[in-house]
Symmetry: C2
Subunit: 126 residues, 2 copies
DNA sequence: CTGTTACATTGATAAACGTCAATGAAGAAG
DNA sequence: CTTCTTCATTGACGTTTATCAATGTAACAG
């Protein structure tokens, strides 16, 4: 069982205790990885297909190969994605689920596979 | 049950359908608002206290008043916070819960007030 | 070996961002 | 009125970021 390194509690939930500077920086670092449309798209494609190689991304996203490679690097260094496997010259990436959970957790949410829809209705009903 | 304007489904959950460019930009815009340690801290303080005025932030966060004001503006324009009330020269801000929910939802999480803690450790007291 | 494919890295350039000093705007108190 | 307080805005500065062309690396195929 791996421990969450960064967050012991949600940063942005009601009643949240003051956040140490270090934690704030760590959280911001993660969010920064998702603060670009290209990277959101990349993560989305990977999420939809499970494993994706670089050449499957340049076309749909409409960016050059070096640029895509750069974004993959950023995402990888943020711990959001990782290399799933290499076959020949292909490099396949996949998501790191626990990293996504950390992000959702940081905002005060949780990963709920059952899929509760988020609405503007009072959440208490859920 | 009102539907989310920006996100009809999580962008980063397994099996997610391809994300339109517009949606990717909208999501990235939201994440960008949290992609700075100062703003993470600000949101955290607001979350912990419910309503906070600008002068309560400059000290703990250690930034000048104009800088804090700038970050508050960014957060406000991203729809993450809003002006709760003005009393005299004070301006009190509060979170916009639905915006937080959207963010958590985008990553594939959901806001669960009951609090299923996402951690591999035995959940510490919230 | 030669050539091709997939990906990573480097270098350069333009845009965006964070920060603060200075200034402006609006209310409260005297 | 004047003065003080709180907050927002402007302007300037240095840093970071996104992007691509060019180049490098590695694994195949022949």
């Amino acid at each position: 069982m791996k421990k969450l390194r960064v967050l012991e509690q949600p940063c942005c939930a009601p009643g949240a205790p003051p956040l140490p500077r270090k934690s704030a920086e760590a959280i911001a670092e993660r969010f920064k990885a998702l603060a670009d449309p290209a990277r959101v798209s990349i993560v989305n494609r990977i999420a939809g297909q499970g494993e994706v190689c670089t050449c499957q991304l340049t076309g749909p996203i409409g960016l050059s190969q070096p640029t895509v490679s750069h974004h993959l690097r950023v995402l990888k260094e943020a711990g959001l994605i990782e290399v799933a496997r290499r076959r020949g010259t292909w490099t396949f990436y996949r998501l790191v689920p626990s990293a996504m959970e950390q992000l959702a957790f940081a905002i005060g949410g949780s990963l709920e596979p059952g899929g509760v829809l988020v609405t503007d209705e009072p959440a208490a009903a859920v």
